[in-house]
Amino acid sequence: METRRLILVLGGIAAVLVVVLGGLSLALLSSGGSGGSDDNGTPAAETSPLPERVAGELRLAGPDPLTLDPACASDTGSAEYIVEIFSGLVAFDRDLTLIPDIAEKWDVSDDGTVYTFHIRRGVKFHDGSRQVTADDFKFSMQRSLDPDTLSTVGSVYLDDIVGATEFAEGKTDNVSGIEVVDEYTLRITIDAAKSYFVAKLTYPTAYVVDQREVGDSSCFSNTEWTRNPNGTGPFKLAEWQIAQRIVLTPNPTYHLEPKPSLAKVTYVLAGGSPLVMYENDEIDITGVGINDIERIRDASDPLNKEFTEAPSLDTYYIGFNTEEPPFDDPKVRRAFAMAIDKQVLSEVVLKDLVVPAKGVLPPGMPGFDDNLAGIPFDADGAKALLEDAGGAGGLGKVTLLSSGRGASVGPIIEAIQAMWEQNLGVTVEVDQEEFGLFLRDLDDGNFKMFDLGWVADYVDPQNFLDIKFHSESPNNEMKYSNPEVDGLLEEARTEQDQAKRLDLYRQAEEKIVEDASWIPLYHGKSNALIKPSVEGYFIPPFVIPNLRYVSVTR
């Protein structure tokens, strides 16, 4: 009897397993699997839809994109793919020079507010069915701004266009500043002579999409078309298996030189540790993290020869709440800035993965001033300045708001805490919050100081100085306000002489650094291990289309 019962029970378990398993596979089949598997019900056991490695293939580890809709991309992980698949009127080339892309040239009116783009003839969508016209651009930019598209970035990049804000708020049904003059001429009128406007058009929100396929999709629904988008970029999306891989193939009719020469680009989205995969020859390029950097930098390491570094356009900083004590006092802010030894931070703590920052602008950004004095490390001076401002006793409880997922605060913040303790005698507590909460507290001004980074969206100092430090900018979390700085920034917006304009930014930056609403800590460097078989790869300082310059000899 006992035995029979046991068999029954085990049989029951088996039955449950079969049911669950069967149910799941049915659900899987009916939902179309993870896409791409169009041969359901193949009769015989068939092996591996996994693509085979081909000559001229570049293999990369990539992030799982959150969206491939150019109108919606707010993160670099998505933009990385979008800039290769889609394209716009203008682009940055590998020297960060602004170049014509689908527009073959553009004219600017004398007053600097009207841009006339002449669209290259014969630029086709990937499916080869149709040429790109001015109307496609009007449609696409308007779609990025359309309130129904629900894009969080559309108006960030396009709100200089006359009528864009009203349209984005749903008050009008047309962006008056975007006009189709004829099939190949697009006229864009902006609200003031902002010379950085064209640079903002390199962002995906201004890219062209095929109006026949996007339908009524928004950033939050009906995005199925992005599985097989009809773009105009150097590469086509051949396959997107969510969480598994993305495969790009070259666009043979691409309109710029050099045309893509890679036979194929495979991004592994789920590969585990990229460095291990690289060492195991599963991918061709990988970044190196802080834990492995010393080993790779060692000249005797076999990987050392494959290692390169390049600056990236970003700045990491500590920001102060300039409206509340104790950091409403510039002296206190300066004292905190002087107490940090950025050299030690960069060299010892971050093992030269970064360069110490003196100012706001990162090296490589136009207007970057190598001679900027900044606020140099001075322990005694810091102490004296703090005494002068009322001493450590008058500060009250000082907390630093930091974002994180609950692990330790990390070596950088720990080192800074120690420096403040040692040089100022101030104990700073760290309040670590998950990113959503962190953003909310920044919004509400609910902080004394915080640490964060700012990464370039386009190559112009306006993207750092005006956006973060103008008193009326929504991105000025510090609530920093200096009328003199505001004046300089406003003047720089419309100054047509580039040299004068950069000079205005330099003056503004000097005052900003002086006022110390930020302690600029360091600028990042990107690094990569690149297999010898890969040629022409360069580490972009921020997201720009760069795969068409790359070839693989194997």
Binding site: L6, G41, F220, S273, L439
Partner: protein, 326 residues
């Protein structure tokens, strides 16, 4: 049998109540908790007016119960809405393949854990009193004590870099009759080691204890006295009887089949549900979180039901009890 049937029906009637409570709590945590997906998408480019506009459009401004009702109406029909990773794709399209992946490797690991743990436990028990018993269990306990965060890099280093016999991770599918199977590739070996090594000790120790108990029973002595071959004694009389309670343990293990390990999936690059759930929480992907919670709690309820029914089968004494819902 009638008692059992009514018991099952009673349990099944409870299931929707439990699911209602779970779904309400999860939904409320999402809606009333701080932060929302739009804020996170905006990141540092904050624009409160735009956020309000998008929130309105996505229905976040409707009353809690309106939103809950709207979601659950779809959910009971198996439509879990559209998710955020990737944005605007139906959660079903993204979640089900991931559940399938997690289910596959968990099931295989479970089978291996029992297939190795059971004989190991018997073996150890039969060598009770010699050094081999504590040694076997000790070795297994060692692997249980090492956290996966250590196991994974060590195994990667050993098998992928040093010996160069296995890929360092990843998930490779082969299609059989239209079903994508990922556990028939050598990429599964590392994850399986990571999953099974810490699991053996639990099963083996349990089995060992059961066998030790059975060993002293009269019928075992009788079997031996009858002159049966040792193998027959062990397989027929000892193992079978000791296995009985283990069946329930197996039932509980079923519960975990749909739960993915975030460490395992991230470090070894497996596109399973653990990684997805982890990121969904940080992105405030409400629809995805709800779908995961609803599906796993349904699985949990079913597995518990199976366990309870198994108890009833195994031990008639616990049948029909009135206080069994608890």
């Amino acid at each position: 049998m009638q008692g059992l049937a009514s018991y099952i029906v009673r349990r099944l009637l409870w299931a929707p109540v439990i699911l209602l409570a779970v779904s309400l709590a999860t939904f409320a945590l999402g809606r009333f908790g701080p932060g929302d997906p739009i804020q996170i998408l905006q990141g540092q480019y904050r624009d409160p007016e735009q956020r309000e506009r998008i929130a309105e459009e996505l229905g976040y401004h409707d009353s809690f119960f309106t939103q809950y009702w709207r979601y659950m109406k779809g959910a009971v029909r198996g439509d879990f809405g559209e998710g955020l990773s990737p944005r605007g794709f139906p959660v079903n399209d993204v979640l089900f393949p991931r559940l399938w992946v997690t289910f596959q490797y968990n099931l295989l690991a479970l089978i291996i854990i029992f297939a190795v743990g059971i004989p190991a436990g018997i073996w150890a028990a039969l060598r009770h009193g010699t050094w081999m018993d504590p040694f076997t269990i000790g070795v297994m306990l060692f692997f249980t004590s090492v956290p996966v965060l250590v196991t994974i890099p060590v195994l990667q280093w050993l098998f992928a870099l040093k010996l160069d016999v296995l890929p360092s991770g990843g998930w490779e599918v082969h299609e059989y009759y239209g079903v994508e199977i990922g556990v028939l590739s050598k990429r599964i070996i590392l994850p399986l080691l990571v999953l099974t090594l810490p699991g053996f000790a639990g099963v083996a120790r349990y089995m060992r204890a059961q066998v030790l108990e059975v060993l002293d029973q009269d019928y075992v002595r009788t079997a031996r006295a009858k002159g049966l071959a040792e193998f027959t004694v062990v397989s027929r009389h000892i193992a079978r009887n000791a296995l009985l309670p283990l069946a329930t343990m197996m039932g509980f293990a079923l519960v975990g089949l749909l739960g993915g390990s975030i460490f395992l999936e991230t470090l070894l690059g497996i596109p399973g549900v653990g990684e997805y759930a982890f990121n969904a929480v940080f992105a405030r992907d409400y629809n995805a979180i709800m779908a995961i919670v609803l599906i796993t709690s349904t699985a949990f309820i079913i597995a518990n039901l199976v366990v309870d029914i198994m108890y009833a089968f195994i031990d008639p004494r616990i049948r029909l009890g009135a206080g069994m819902e608890g």
